[in-house]
């Protein structure tokens, strides 16, 4: 029995390990390839983007995935940091988009979630259902209405057109409401008895209790908006105002810096996750959502 259990455990570990590796593989590839020379990358990935030509000429159609660089060099990074300041500017564009969205949505969502979870008013649940519906709808459905609204507000081709819908997205409301539902009414009633108003209850009682939820929300929002491509692509037409994510999606030809740019773009996300990892796991578990 014990033997069977051990075998099971080993098998399971191996399987998990394999899956884990599979998930990590793109990141590993990116990090090792960021140390390759431009020539090596060209040789390995040069066929990308001209697959049809290659097939018609009968040549090798396979991309040569290469894990370890022949020659380790930081040329890509120097190229990126010193010779192509536009990427750095776009990086700060990304920051400028993501930070207001996260702050705005967290504030709005926390307040709204409090109302949906702890206040009693008519039509609360049906209103929440409507809210949920917008979340359930794919982004592409709301794209056109969003575009029209941004146009009417005169926000088109400015960062506001991306930030505003982000601030008022339903996801944060939903997630924080789930958190707040777990908080027993007794706390609130006790506070009310002590004469606290709603704002005081919210600030001093509820917020500290949903700290882990807020952290999880921040990370999820960060990941979500840091990686967005479509919204800025559609709403912002000035290439120098677009975030780096849009640019990275077009970077395929520039072998001299594409992997380094990806690495730099990934770094804040990874560090933020590592920093708030414990909150994140806790928050996900509590709210019952999986990222």
């Amino acid at each position: 029995m014990l033997v069977i259990r051990t075998i099971q455990k080993v098998l399971l570990t191996a399987l998990m390990g394999a899956f884990g590796l599979l998930l990590l593989f793109p990141i590993i590839i990116t990090s090792t390839n960021s140390l390759m020379t431009e020539q090596e990358l060209k040789i390995n990935y040069g066929v990308i983007g001209k697959l049809t030509e290659v097939t018609s000429s009968g040549a090798d159609t396979f991309v040569n995935l290469k894990l370890l660089p022949d020659k380790v060099t930081l040329k890509q990074y120097s190229e990126l940091l010193v010779h192509s300041p536009q990427y750095l500017l776009l990086f700060w564009n990304s920051v400028g988009l993501v930070v207001p969205i996260i702050i705005g949505q967290t504030v709005v969502a926390a307040l709204a979630a409090y109302a949906f979870a702890k206040l009693n008013f008519r039509g609360r649940d049906s209103l929440f259902m409507v809210y949920l519906l917008t979340m359930l709808m794919p982004f592409q459905v709301t794209l056109v209405p969003n575009y029209i609204i941004a146009d009417k507000l005169g926000l088109l081709h400015s960062t506001g057109a991306v930030i505003l819908p982000g601030v008022f997205a339903a996801f944060g409301v939903f997630m924080l409401r789930q958190f707040m539902l777990h908080i027993p009414y007794a706390y609130i009633e006790a506070a009310k008895m002590d004469g606290a108003g709603h704002l005081r209850i919210f600030l001093t009682l509820i917020l500290p209790m949903v700290k882990s939820g807020l952290a999880a929300l921040v990370i999820l929002l960060f990941v979500d908006y840091w990686n967005m491509v479509e919204q800025p692509l559609i709403f912002i037409n000035d290439p120098f105002k677009q975030p780096l994510s849009v640019f990275l999606s077009r970077l395929s030809g520039e072998w001299d810096k594409v992997f380094a740019a990806s690495m730099l773009y990934m770094a804040p996300m990874v560090l933020l996750f590592l920093y708030a990892e414990t909150y994140f796991i806790e928050g996900i578990q509590l709210s019952g959502i999986k990222g």
Partner: protein
């Protein structure tokens, strides 16, 4: 145990936050300073604004004026030179005495001959007396003899007379050299006290026929001026000694092909190195000239077509085609950047310094790259000097 776990966690968080701040700090630094860092490594270029206009062709050539006609005057009789009356370079009038020769021997000979003539005259008188005596005596044969003798003597005297005349004539002619025409003494070989040196004593140029100048120039360049025979041409004489520089006019007498010469110094070597040469013969009629003056001919013409004038050093070759690099301002992520942009050109007209390119190749005020610290390619970022 739990506390230490928390401590570890806190420490980890601290590290991560430091790392995050470092990353953001580094990115911020590079964002702000990458332009500066980069501009240090960019190739430095010197530029010039293209000038609008036509190519001005310039031909500058100089030569020495040579008399068209000059005559060598030699010592006619081979006598010693008694006196030289002119100097080299002196202007002389027609008939002016140039050199006097020592004619004393000839004069002595003449005197001898004259004495001889006198002797003959005296002898003639003797014969006449004899003739008269014979007539008085009535000696027929003696009279005939005396008459014959008289006639012979008369003939002798005539001959002698002619001889003297001729001698006198010769003396007059050969004791001096005179100028055959208005001219200038070009060469003076005669030395006082010496007889003939084997060279002509004098060389005199003919002023009335004027001077000539031969100029050899690049045929292609010469063609641009569309010169024609009998066209007048301006020339300049360089200042020499007390003579100030002055200008004079000449007339083209002949335009002919000179032998082509291989031009090895021609840079680029595209024109196969053969430069067609042309000779220009110019005639100058100016009474103040002495010959031998250094004369400069300057021709200048602005081409009829207008375009951008580009210094030749800015023109690059790529096989057969030619191009220039201009400065283009591009909007970069962090302000404007300068980029080298290739502009293919086909030259219509060119000189040794400039090339004219057509108007549509450049816009007003655009800068052309003359020199670069590194070889440039199309699209390279550059740093302006």
């Amino acid at each position: 145990m739990e506390l230490s776990q928390e401590q570890v966690d806190r420490k980890r968080k601290k590290w991560i936050s430091v790392l995050l701040l470092l990353l953001l700090g580094a990115l911020l630094f590079f964002t702000l300073f990458s332009n500066t860092l980069q501009s240090v490594t960019l190739p430095k270029v010197s530029t010039k604004q293209a000038e609008s206009g036509g190519v001005s062709y310039k031909l500058e050539s100089s030569g020495v004026l040579q008399p068209v006609n000059q005559v060598e005057l030699s010592n006619p009789a081979g006598w010693r030179v008694r006196q030289v009356l002119v100097k080299k370079g002196q202007a002389v009038k027609k008939g002016q005495k140039l050199v006097l020769y020592d004619s004393s021997s000839a004069e002595r000979e003449l005197e001898d001959e004259i004495a001889q003539l006198k002797k003959q005259s005296i002898a003639l008188e003797n014969v006449q007396d004899q003739f008269k005596l014979s007539v008085v005596n009535g000696d027929e044969s003696a009279v005939r003899e005396a008459r014959r003798d008289l006639e012979t003597r008369n003939i002798d005297i005539l001959v002698q007379q002619r001889k003297i005349d001729e001698l006198r004539d010769q003396l007059n002619r050969q004791k001096e050299l005179t100028a055959p025409f208005n001219g200038i003494v070009m060469k003076l070989n005669a030395v006082e006290g010496l007889a003939a040196t084997g060279q002509p004593d004098l060389v005199v140029s003919n002023l009335d026929l004027g001077y000539g100048l031969n100029i050899i120039a690049d045929g292609k360049l010469l063609d641009r001026f569309s010169l024609a025979v009998k066209q007048s041409i301006d020339m300049k004489i360089a200042a020499e000694g007390e003579q100030p520089a002055r200008s004079l006019k000449g007339i083209i007498v002949e335009i002919s092909d000179a032998s082509s010469q291989t031009d090895e110094s021609s840079n680029g070597g595209s024109g196969a190195g053969v430069v067609r040469q042309k000779q220009l013969r110019i005639h100058v009629a100016d009474t103040d000239l002495k010959g031998g003056e250094q004369v400069t001919v300057k021709l200048e013409r602005v081409s009829s077509g207008k375009g951008w004038l580009v210094p030749n050093e800015a023109i690059h070759r790529e096989g057969e085609s030619r191009f220039i690099l201009k400065v283009e301002q591009q909007r970069g992520a962090l302000g404007n950047v300068f980029v080298a942009r290739k502009v293919p050109i086909e030259t219509s007209e060119e000189t040794e310094q400039e090339t004219m390119i057509s108007k549509d190749r450049l816009y007003e005020g655009e800068m052309i790259i003359l020199e670069s610290s590194e070889p440039l390619q199309d699209g390279n970022r550059i740093r302006l000097e």
